[in-house]
Structures are given as structure tokens and as C-alpha cells.
Symmetry: C2
Subunit: 234 residues, 2 copies
Amino acid sequence: MRYELYYWPEIQGRGEFIRLALEEAGVDYVDVARTKGGMSRMMRLMEAGSQPPFAPPLLKAGKLVIAQAAMILFYLGGRHGLAPKDEAGRLWVHQCQLTLADFLVEIHDTHHPIASGLYYEDQKPEARRRAANFRADRLPKFLGYFDGILTRNPRGWLAGARLSYADLSLFQVVEGLAYAFPKAMARSKSRYPLIHALHDRVAVRPHIAAYLASERRIPLNEQGIFRHYPELDT
Amino acid sequence: MRYELYYWPEIQGRGEFIRLALEEAGVDYVDVARTKGGMSRMMRLMEAGSQPPFAPPLLKAGKLVIAQAAMILFYLGGRHGLAPKDEAGRLWVHQCQLTLADFLVEIHDTHHPIASGLYYEDQKPEARRRAANFRADRLPKFLGYFDGILTRNPRGWLAGARLSYADLSLFQVVEGLAYAFPKAMARSKSRYPLIHALHDRVAVRPHIAAYLASERRIPLNEQGIFRHYPELDT
């Protein structure tokens, strides 16, 4: 079976967390909205059936269509060796992913504190205030939390002895934050070395390294979750 | 086995979604932080073990300690008849819950658009702007989404023929919104009648009605997610 991923074709966004898991697992998938006519197929799927999704990303697995990035990863992780087999382990990895999802909302809202439907340019003073608080308060809280988990696990991953989809997601968050807040993240290296070490170990895994070097990896830009506005990183 | 719920003792907050599920299921539980010495027990549990949670609510089920409200409900729902038995149904209800969790963040941020660590009084102009956009844009989008699901299911629930934990959560969201935004919600009744009808049917279920009338139900107040600031509901 070939998985179908549906997500906005010009950003990494929340779809990237799914792409990284599919790439690491080495499974067959198509990134539908980046193919010819794919956007219309995504729009039709958004309206179809009695249980429509609220928003992309969507994963089609045979007849099943599911949404919510963390839940898609929960589904894929159990099937492709990207999560522990026991219930406590599976729940723990899902819990890490949901905490990363909470973090992502806060990262996004540094540039959109008033409304996701308005331009950044329409909420710049508020974004400066929110980003200053984010850098001082929330960024250290989340980075410290994940670094603290890694401190407790000598194997170097969020769960047990093997990489899980939550480790791939933590890699992506560190990657995105380094793009959006290069100054703040450079300062964080000595304080939270373990998340940076995890990032570097994920980046050189064969499937991930090949993916990052490919055209399938959309460059980070100022349309997605992680945006580089220098005035928010002073 | 008696479940132990750990959550801030003076607000409904995210813990309320768990309380409603435990009450509807009629299972034995203790709301630990509301008992004598309970806050210290919660603080110790936050620091314990190799897999500490990021934030309350926490559920202790035997030796298992889990966090993230949506995941706790996923865990409880499967065990106490508050979710469908088949995989597609279980995923769908979890997906609804995760969308409600996204909605909750946006509801909260109407009064805290700049920083959760600052007082409302320190971000009032920004809150007015965010709340105006919320009422015009995001509130109808989320209410319309859930009303649309109910339109597609003649049985009146988010999933299939029986109430699930996501229905209890939708009840709670409608209840909280009616407290925080009474004017906007009064106007929404004719436009989204099915979510209001679901709310009313949940409120009179025997276990829920008894709970709502009891002292276990903490009144809504201006410390939680749903706060009534008249200036945000004009």
C-alpha cells in the first residue's frame, strides 16, 4: 500500500513531521498536493465523507483518512518501528509529541499573536512583545524540559534505546528554531547540549540525510511555522 | 483500582475534561490536589521518574502516570465505553479531541495573547484585538466545523450511535464559551443549533447532572481557560 500525504505544497509546516517519519521508515508515499492536480484532490478530500478533517495534514492509508499530525504519527509509529511496542512506551512517545505540538503553537504565535488570518505586518508590535516573552520564558521552558528528559536517558533518545517519531519531531523543532531564532538558539547550545546533540545525530541518519539533501525537502521560508524575522530575535 | 487525577484545584481548566469522563463512566477516582496535602503530592509527581510530564493534568492508573488531556481521554475512553471499539472510530474520536484542544488554546489566548505568564491586565489592548478576531473568524470556524459533523450524523453525536468522551468535551467547550462570551454564544444558537442541542442533552445525563450539581464541580472563574471579561464580548 502506498500512503498518500496531503499538505500545503509550499511549506514544511506540520506536514514536515509526517514527511520525516515516512522518510525515516522508508515506506512508499506520495506527497499529493505537490503533484499535478494535487491541490484540488486535497480540497475535495477536506470536504468528503461524514467525518471531514479540520485542517491538513491528512494521511490516507487505504480507506482510512486521518488528520492531526500527532495522531498520524501515533498511527504510523506503531506500524513502522518508530515507537515502542508496549502500551506505556507508545503513550509516552505520543505524550512527547503532544507537548511538541503545544510548543509549535507557541512558536507560530510569536509572529502571529493576534490572528493567523492577518499578515505579520499587521501585528508587528504585538509580535515583538510576544517574541520577547517567548525567548525569555517559554523557549527555555520547553528546551529545558526536553533536554531534561534526555539527561535521564543515557541512550540519547526521548524513549528507551531506539529512535522514535518524537525524536524526529524534536530534530525538526530544533532545526526550525535555529532558522527562526538563530541568536537565541546559538546561546542555547551550552545550556541544552543534549537536544542539539540529538538534532545532529538525526541529521546524519542515512534516510534523513538523503531526504534533507533532496528536492523533496522544501526550504524553510516566511510562510510556515518557523519564520526568520530578525527583529523577533534580538 | 482507583484512578488518581492531579490538576490545579481551583479551576476547571484542562482537568475538567478528564473529570467529566471519569464522572460519566462512574469509575472510582480521587481528585488528589483538592485533598489535604494533595498539591505537594502533585508537585512531587511532576518531578518523579525518568519520564516527567510537562504540565498537569496527570492521571495515575496503577503504576502508569500519563499527561496531556487528549491522551488521558484516549486511554480512559477505550477502557470505559467512552469511545468506539474499532480502530477507525477510536482514531476519529481522538482526532475530534485534538481539534478541540487546538480550539482551547485559541480560546485561552483571547485573554492572554502575549504571554500566559503575564496578567490579563498587562495585555488588555492586545486581548481586545485578538478577541475581536476570534469572535469574527475563529469562533464561527470551530463551531461550524463541529456543527457540520453533527449535521452528518443523525444519531446526534460526534461518532456513531453513542456518546464518546469527545461529546463530553464539546459539551464543556460550549459551557465554557457561554460563560466567557455570552453575547456571541447567544447569537450562535440559531446558526449552530446542533452543538447547542448536544450540550443540552449531555447536561441532563444522570451522572453528569449529578456531577454539575455537586461541590466537585468547581465554578467557572477568571483564573481558567474560559474567562468572562465583558470587554472581550462586545
